[in-house]
């Protein structure tokens, strides 16, 4: 079998992952959201890395291979915050890609989060968490699994999480990239989801709101046919709820890739 041809990862009609408009300084600050949805079987580390790499080095070289035409965005900081992975996890992953360590900082929201915040009022937890993020309207923030806060903070609703955390966080930066797990909504044939369950409704509501707020949705999932040696899964790029309301002059290029992740490298290709 011949190996299929490698495809470049692009999100927008100008053949870029991040159009220059997204990096340009504007008079009135604009805020955008990219959403990554994934499952346990197809975790998004490589995609997050490629996006971070694009923010810092100028292009997703780990996916597309090196290119000289792209310019690095030197003056803005990228912040990565995760509720499931510790600091060193991202450090190691980005170091392997040779991403300039001065271009990003990592906020560890995993370590001692419960110990420090158990029994605090909800608003206080969210406020304090928000405080930890720098305010820089040119910057990018990557946030992994914010929906975990719905489990970790007692009584928190999707509405509160959205209004008191996600939207204010978007205002702190130019681009917020949220990676969210959607395992809950898969395989409902065998084990239907109880849609009357309050918690389930909050999770549904949260993901739906994220899609409404996003320009682009990147969905990672495994093939319906199961595991295969030469395909890890599919990456579907589709327009988000804000795509028809975006102030950007470029539009999202909808696409479906197959990808193969082996060891530390990922390759995109078409069916």
């Amino acid at each position: 079998m011949t190996t299929p041809q490698r495809q470049d990862f692009i999100l927008f009609s100008d053949q870029s992952v991040m159009p220059s408009e997204l990096r340009a300084v504007t008079v009135e600050p604009k805020h955008h959201l990219f959403l990554i949805t994934s499952t346990m079987a197809t975790q998004p580390l490589w995609l997050i890395n490629a996006l971070v790499e694009t923010c810092i080095s100028g292009g997703p070289f780990s996916l597309n291979g090196p290119s000289v035409s792209l310019k690095a965005n030197s003056n803005s900081l990228t912040t990565i915050a995760s509720l499931v992975h510790e600091e060193i996890f991202y450090h190691n992953a980005l170091r392997k890609l040779k991403v300039n360590a001065n271009g990003y900082q990592i906020l560890d929201v995993l370590t001692d989060f419960v110990l420090k915040n158990n029994d605090k009022p909800r608003d206080k937890v969210l406020d304090e968490l928000l405080e930890r993020f720098p305010t820089d309207v040119q910057s990018t923030i990557v946030l992994e699994q914010p929906e975990l806060l719905l489990s970790l903070i007692r009584g928190l609703t999707a509405d509160e999480l959205n209004k008191k955390f996600i939207l204010p966080l978007m205002k702190k930066c130019k681009l917020l990239i949220v990676a969210s797990s959607i395992d809950l909504f898969q395989d409902n044939e065998n084990e239907p989801l109880d849609s009357n369950n309050n918690d389930v409704q909050e999770f549904t509501k949260f993901v739906t709101s994220l899609i409404y707020n996003s320009i682009v949705v990147m969905n990672l999932r495994s093939l319906d046919t199961g595991r295969s040696k030469d395909v890890t899964g599919s990456l579907m790029i589709s327009r988000g709820g804000q795509s028809t309301n975006s102030p950007l002059s470029v539009h999202v290029v909808e696409n479906e890739y197959l990808y193969l992740t082996q060891r530390d490298s990922t390759r995109l290709f078409y069916r």
């Binding site: 909504f185 409404y212 319906d224």
Partner: protein, 301 residues
């Protein structure tokens, strides 16, 4: 359609350009087709006519739209303050005001159910049109105690609205309606949604008391609206007449034959669905497979 002397497309354009002073225009939308395109279309339709005052009440939107005369970020100033601000920006109810006032609300889902009717009635006035979006697919959450018999937000809004745009996407070519719904339920957003062309189920409540429903195909790129034609070609069945007089052979099937044919379960139908075409069957030797390499008739490759 015969019951109405109106051309639905013209009626729709009138509503979009706020020609009828219709008080409360409700947009039902979903993640598969959001209402922004409709809002933009309304703005497009009124921009040429008169000077207009557009107030945007944002619960979700962070980026101020270019058309908004005033942009009110509710999260920043709080709900009650936001209503006060809007009131102050609207003209007092004097009958000789000529300008059009449009209040856009980016989604009513964020307003608590008991506050919803008062919010709407406080904004609707002569010369003011309320264009509000309600997301159909956000679960409403459990009602507060004491409101057990209160109608749901959706019923309430439907009851109060003078015009309703129920926005639906055009089906992506690869999917049918059920597949699309299932796919969205899994949050697998297929390609081909949130386009600039979409379908609107348009409910128009007339002053006469009648309520008319039309299905319209809206193209916001060319700004054209037409009555939605259900695609009948696809549903067209093969009729025996089509096969008549083609040859001397009998090509038609009897009803009984057809029934038998439909019942035949095609092999590997499941397997074919994933990679349509371009696949090979890969044989992988397993532990208990019994493969004799000297047997010429037992070649799995």
């Amino acid at each position: 359609m015969a019951s109405s002397s109106h051309n639905p497309a013209i009626l729709f354009r009138r509503t979009l350009s706020l020609a009828d002073s219709s008080g409360f225009v409700l947009c039902y939308d979903s993640i598969s087709q959001t209402s922004h395109a409709v809002v933009n279309e309304v703005v497009h339709n009124i921009s040429g006519t008169m000077d207009s005052n557009i107030i945007y009440i944002a619960f979700e939107t962070l980026n101020r739209p270019s058309f908004a005369t005033n942009f009110i970020d509710v999260n920043e100033i709080g709900f009650s303050k936001a209503i006060e601000t809007v009131q102050s920006l609207l003209p007092s109810t004097t009958p000789n005001v000529r300008s059009k006032n449009l209040v856009v609300v980016d989604s009513l889902n964020h307003i608590a159910l008991p506050d919803l009717p008062s919010f709407i009635s406080s904004l609707v006035a002569p010369h003011v049109t309320l264009l509000a979006t309600y997301h159909k697919d956000l679960p409403e959450g459990s009602p507060k105690i004491g409101l057990d018999n209160y109608p749901t937000a959706e019923t309430l809004l439907q009851f109060m609205a003078t015009s309703i745009f129920d926005i639906e996407p055009l089906l992506p070519s690869a999917l049918d309606a059920t597949e699309l719904r299932e796919s969205i339920e899994k949050f697998h957003i297929p390609r081909g949604l949130n386009k600039l062309q979409f379908k609107v189920n348009f409910t128009n409540r007339r002053r006469s008391g009648r309520s008319l429903i039309y299905e319209l195909l809206v193209d916001t790129q060319t700004h054209t609206y037409e009555v939605f034609q259900h695609n009948e070609d696809e549903n067209q069945e093969e009729t025996p007449e089509m096969l008549q007089d083609l040859t001397t052979f009998n090509l038609s099937t009897s009803a009984k034959q057809k029934e038998a044919k439909d019942q035949v379960a095609l092999p590997f139908l499941e397997a074919q669905s994933e990679f349509a075409g371009g696949t090979a069957i890969v044989y992988e030797y397993e532990k208990d497979d019994d493969y004799d390499e000297e047997d010429p008739y037992e070649d799995p490759y």
